[in-house]
Every structure is written in structure tokens, then in C-alpha cells.
């Protein structure tokens, strides 16, 4: 018997097109797609109102499988394609899915500028700490000392914090979840979609094949346990000393601020310009 939740997911998939999918068994990407679909379903959004745009990577394959308006853009450029969509048709709900390499290496520039500009776009960044699709090269979020196919003796660069970067660059909403904390993840995605402004959800995910196998976590369960054991909720972290927080990352809502969005500002400035320069 098909479970209700599976039926719900199936409602949103393109069954006839692209299955089987490319993700490895146990990949976190499926968990994230599930959370995204449930969030959209629970918000009662119409499929046709939604644009799901991605870059390139394992994460980038996500739009291929779902029945929204979808755009599988070039590596790193999901947010620039999304910016164009928002300018042309700002009524659409635009969601981008990117990998950590996609969003913060080749697309890093676009990421900070999208946040600064505050377009009403939701950015889901799947942080598996590695380049999954191309075979395990280090990414800007690969932790110092970890192993990658281009760092076979340990990585000598230091990692970005995606969520902190988003905050500093000016995003209206920043959340961090994991594929272990599935209910929280769904809540964060819902919040990000509803939020007016540039919203980022960083999702810590498992690539046990490319990252785990090189870093003594070769199965998905070990990686999920690692997420469980190394995360603290924002609420709990508030009462903890800096020393006690070492080695942990926070999950939950990291920033939620109100500021005018780009398209609103645009309309306002047009009104002002018209007043000053009547036709």
C-alpha cells in the first residue's frame, strides 16, 4: 500500500520523464526534495505559480523531476536566471536549488549580490561539503583538514559558513537545517517561501559517496548521526557558552529581518521619477 506521504510526493513528480533519477541510494537530495514538496503542498501553492531553478550538480538535477515551471541553468548561475525571471514576472514564486560549489564557488558572486539586492527569491543551498557530481573535489565548504579528490592529503583551505555569509550580505531570512532534522527543514523552507525578501535555507546534507567515504563516514546513517550529534538549535545555543559551542553548528532561524524588496523599491522609484519628470 502506498503511504499518504508518498502519494503526496507523487502528485508533484514528472513520472513519465526522468526516472530513475541520478542520485545515489541514501542521498540527502531526496529528503530535501520531499521537504520542499511538502512545504509547497502545505502552503497551498499551485504548481504553475512556482518556478524551480537550479544550477549544475547533483542538486541541480532536482527541477528535472518535478512538475513545476523548471529551469536547469548553468553551473553557478541559478540566481542570475532567477533574477531575470523575477524582473519579467514578479508574481511567480521563484525558488532556486544550488549545491555548495554551485552557490558559493562559481556562483559566489551572484549569491552575495542576490542577497544584497533583496529580490523576493528563495535560495535552498544543499551543503554536502563537496563537489558531488564531478567526483569529490573540495568546495568552499569542505572543512579544513578533510579529504577530497583534489585534497588527498587533507584540505588546506578554510570553509565558508553559508548562512553567515548570507546574513552579512543582507538576506532577509536565513535558516539552517539538516536532512536529519526533517520537520525543522520543512518548517524553514515554508518560512523562506512565505518571507518577502531574499531567503536562504542552508541544508547540511550527506554525500556519503564522495565526502563520507573519504572522511570515515561511508554510510548515510553515520553521516545523519553526525548531524544529530553536532548540531544545536538556535534557542539552545543562546544559553550556551562559546567554549561549549565549539565543534557544533546551530540550526533553526538565524536571521529574519524586514526590509523592502527590490521590485517594490523599483515601483516606488518609478513613481517618484514620474512625479519629477511628467511625460
Amino acid at each position: 500500500m502506498v503511504k499518504e506521504v508518498t502519494k503526496l510526493i507523487h502528485k508533484y513528480l514528472r513520472h513519465d520523464k526522468k526516472f530513475p533519477h541520478v542520485w545515489c541510494p541514501g542521498c540527502g537530495n531526496g529528503v530535501i526534495l520531499g521537504a520542499l514538496i511538502r512545504a509547497i503542498d502545505r502552503l497551498g501553492l499551485e504548481k504553475d505559480e512556482i518556478v524551480l531553478a537550479s544550477g549544475i550538480g547533483c542538486s541541480g538535477r532536482m527541477p528535472v523531476y518535478v512538475d513545476f515551471n523548471t529551469l536547469h541553468a548553468t553551473h553557478g548561475r541559478a540566481l542570475t536566471f532567477a533574477t531575470g525571471i523575477k524582473l519579467a514576472k514578479s508574481s511567480l514564486t521563484v525558488i532556486t536549488v544550488m549545491g555548495d560549489g554551485d552557490a558559493t564557488a562559481i556562483g559566489g558572486n551572484h549569491f552575495i549580490h542576490a542577497a544584497r539586492r533583496n529580490l523576493n527569491i528563495t535560495a535552498i543551498i544543499i551543503n554536502n561539503q563537496i563537489y558531488g557530481m564531478t567526483g569529490g573535489q573540495s568546495s568552499p565548504t569542505t572543512p579544513y583538514g578533510c579529504y577530497a579528490s583534489t585534497a588527498t592529503y587533507g584540505h588546506i583551505e578554510h570553509a565558508f559558513s553559508i548562512a553567515e555569509l548570507a546574513k552579512t550580505a543582507g538576506a532577509s531570512f536565513v535558516g539552517r537545517g539538516t536532512v536529519y532534522h526533517i520537520h525543522l527543514l520543512e518548517k524553514l523552507i515554508k518560512h523562506a517561501i512565505v518571507k518577502r525578501g531574499f531567503s536562504v535555507v542552508e541544508v547540511i546534507s550527506n554525500c556519503h559517496i564522495q565526502f563520507g567515504r573519504r572522511n570515515q563516514m561511508e554510510d548515510p546513517v553515520t553521516m545523519l548521526e553526525w548531524m544529530r550529534d553536532h548540531s544545536v538549535t538556535v534557542e539552545k545555543a543562546k544559553d550556551m557558552e562559546a567554549e561549549a559551542l565549539k565543534g557544533f553548528f546551530t540550526i533553526g532561524i538565524l536571521a529574519d529581518v524586514e526590509k523592502p524588496i527590490y521590485t517594490e523599491e523599483y515601483t516606488n522609484i518609478q513613481k517618484r521619477a514620474k512625479l519629477l519628470n511628467p511625460l
Binding site: 549544475i56 536547469h72 548553468t74 553551473h75 553557478g76 564557488a105 562559481i106 559566489g108 563537489y131 557530481m133 564531478t134 567526483g135 573535489q137 573540495s138 568552499p140 579528490s149 583534489t150 585534497a151 588527498t152 592529503y153
Partner: protein, 384 residues
């Protein structure tokens, strides 16, 4: 020493033997194993070089430019979208006269997304001022890496060597790996003629007024033309040490051929078999392999094709709105010849479409049967 290796590792070994000093790179399928192998050579000391995985191909080429201007022998590798993203920097490397060498694994461009082989990526960089070599075997790949540094450092222009996605990049063959001492003899350690140097300062990338600007461009073309002589000598010197040489083109069974098929890369190997079969049947057909594409080997091409009645060019790329890119080049090379063949343009093998002996035979038969080449290229295979 004979080693069995994939084409990508043949690149890596060529780079190691060339004693490259700086390797900035960004991963892309099907190039990744070139740079992964190199990152390992750098880490374990097989190669005394610095490897850095940068944040995009644009950055990779920009970093190559910096390293080369600082006087280091510099290499990178890419493919497809990555090469397209580098475009701006490719022009820059040429203008700054930096002898960077790059391997490009020929892969189709998106959309629709496709990771398989065709030649659109490198051919659309035709006018950037990079020398281009199209390789047919893993041995040729390794040897061409070494030759490329030799040529580039003499003419002060960058070189791109090209290998077919998967058919070479991921296919293992026996490769004779030259002795390091022999390579050192052929290609001594790099001494940059012009480099950033506090004791003898140079400036790269200055502003030039129109007269000087055109003069600089003219000089690039002069050195491109000179690159033919330099490349010929580099190939001959290579032969005297390693007993292998490749030429700019290779004419196979062209003697007395009424029809000559022209192509490049791994399709040449398949075509040889087809030509042998057809020759056995008594048909007068030949094959011309184009190895060096920039600078264009006019004399070799004209010499090989001028007496044929017909030439069929098999392109794995198209210039939309015109025809196959190799076909255009061959047509323009032959135009001013008093006696010249009819030239037919065929497009096939896009996005990895398998170019089988059947397809090659069909092309040859088609060209034999048609009295006059149509204005538009003829497409073989593919579904709509």
C-alpha cells in the same frame, strides 16, 4: 616505459614530464581525472608544482595568466561549459603573449545538457589566438602536451590540445611514457623571456593607442604564421629523440584517390578502417587527418586535396547558419587553387552520437553519388 592509461592520465603524465610549475584548475566532467591525477602528483612530490582548485574556469585561466606572467610554466585543463566561461581570458592570454598550455576535453555545450563528445567547445574558440591540436590517440595526447610547451614558449602564444570526451579521455591504451631525462633534453626548464621581475620590470596589459594596438595584433598573426615553422621543427626534434612524429596533417591512402574524407580526432581511427575496406573493394578513396587546426596548415591541406575530385568533410560541430567548421576552413583553403575538388560538408557525432564505420561509409557513398555539393551541410543520424 609502456604504461596502460586513459587519455586524461596521458595528459597528466605529459604535464608532469614537462615540469610544469603552476596548475590552477576547476573540475568538469570529463576533464576531472586530468587534474585529480595532477593534484596528487603535486602533493606527493612527483611533480614540483603548485596545484590550486580555484572557484571557476574564468578564475583558472586568470590564475594561469598571473602565474605565466610571473615566469612559471603553466598548465590547466577544462571542457565544454568551462572552456566557454574562459573565453574572455583566452583572448587575454594571447594578447599578453603568455605561453600557457591547456588541454580541452571536447564535450558538447548545453542546453540540452549533454556530457558527451563533440567539437563545438574548442572550435568556437578558434579566433582567440590559441594554437590548436586535435589528437587521435593517448600516445599522441601525451606527446602533444610536451610539444605544445616547446612551441608555445618559442612563439609566445598559448596552445590548446584537444582530446575527445570518453573515446580518449576515459579509454585506456598502452602509452610509451618517455624518460624524464630525454624530455628534459627536448624541453629544458622554463626560462621566461618576459616576466614580472623587480630587477627588470615589465608591464602586461597596458593601454595601446590604435596604431600600436593594430601593430600588436599584427605581431600575433606573424608569430602564428611562424608557429608553423616552429611546430614543424618541434615535431622533427621530437622524432629524433622519441622516434615518433605526427605532422600537421596525415594523408592516408590519398595517392590517386578520387574522394578524400577529411576529419579529426578519434573519428580518424575509425575512418582508417573504413578506407582500408573500401580500398579492398577497389574504390579510390583516401583520408586526411587534420591535427593542427591553428595555425591552419594550408600547404599540407592543399597538397593533399588538390588532385582529388571530391572531398567530404566530416564535422562534429556546426557554425549555425553556415556549415561544418572544418568544412568552411577546407573550402576557404582550396578556393584560390587552379584545380580544386568539390567539397561536401557533413555533420554528425554531435553530443556523443556514435560515428560508426556505417556512418562513415554512408558519408563517402553519399558524396560519391551527389554530382554537386548542396549549399547546406548534410546531417547524418540524430532524432528530432
Amino acid at each position: 616505459m609502456i604504461k596502460v592509461m586513459i587519455g586524461n592520465h596521458a595528459v597528466s603524465y605529459g604535464v608532469m614530464l614537462s615540469r610544469v610549475q603552476v596548475i590552477p584548475a576547476y573540475p568538469i566532467t570529463p576533464q576531472t581525472s586530468i587534474v585529480e591525477e595532477l593534484s596528487e602528483f603535486c602533493a606527493d612530490g612527483h611533480l614540483n608544482a603548485r596545484f590550486i582548485k580555484v572557484e571557476s574556469e574564468h578564475s583558472a585561466m586568470a590564475c594561469c595568466i598571473g602565474a605565466s606572467a610571473a615566469g612559471a610554466r603553466t598548465f590547466t585543463a577544462t571542457s565544454s561549459q568551462g572552456l566557454a566561461l574562459m573565453h574572455e581570458m583566452l583572448h587575454w592570454a594571447t594578447g599578453a603573449r603568455l605561453p600557457i598550455v591547456m588541454a580541452n576535453v571536447n564535450r558538447a555545450l548545453g542546453p540540452p545538457w549533454n556530457i558527451w563528445n563533440d567539437q563545438t567547445d574548442s572550435l568556437s574558440q578558434r579566433d582567440t589566438g590559441w594554437l590548436q591540436f586535435y589528437c587521435e590517440s593517448n600516445q599522441e595526447v601525451l606527446d602533444t602536451v610536451i610539444q605544445s610547451f616547446k612551441i608555445s614558449e618559442e612563439v609566445l602564444l598559448p596552445t590548446m590540445l584537444v582530446l575527445d570526451a570518453f573515446f580518449l579521455s576515459h579509454t585506456a591504451e598502452a602509452v610509451d611514457v618517455p624518460d624524464a631525462q630525454d624530455v628534459d633534453r627536448y624541453l629544458p626548464r622554463y626560462q621566461a623571456r618576459y616576466r614580472l621581475d623587480v630587477d627588470n620590470p615589465h608591464s602586461f596589459g597596458n593601454l595601446a593607442t590604435p596604431e600600436y594596438y593594430q601593430g600588436f595584433r599584427n605581431k600575433i598573426q606573424d608569430d602564428m604564421i611562424r608557429a608553423r615553422t616552429v611546430a614543424k621543427k618541434a615535431d622533427e626534434d621530437f622524432e629524433s629523440i622519441f622516434h615518433r612524429s605526427y605532422g600537421f596533417t596525415e594523408a592516408y591512402q590519398c595517392e590517386g584517390a578520387d574522394l578524400i574524407l577529411v576529419t579529426s580526432g578519434t573519428v580518424v581511427s575509425t575512418s582508417r578502417i573504413v578506407i582500408d575496406e573500401l580500398r579492398k573493394e577497389g574504390r579510390k578513396v583516401g583520408l586526411l587527418k587534420i591535427r593542427m587546426f591553428r595555425p591552419f596548415p594550408f600547404d599540407d591541406v592543399i597538397g593533399a586535396l588538390k588532385d582529388a575530385k571530391k572531398v567530404a568533410v566530416l564535422d562534429r560541430a556546426i557554425s549555425f547558419g553556415h556549415s561544418g567548421i572544418f568544412a568552411q576552413e577546407i573550402m576557404s583553403a582550396m578556393y584560390n587553387q587552379p584545380s580544386k575538388p568539390l567539397i561536401y560538408s557533413y555533420i554528425t557525432g554531435l553530443g556523443g552520437l556514435d560515428v560508426t564505420p556505417r556512418i562513415i561509409t554512408d558519408i563517402i557513398n553519399d558524396a560519391c553519388e551527389r554530382d554537386i555539393p548542396p549549399q547546406e551541410s548534410i546531417w547524418i543520424g540524430g532524432k528530432s
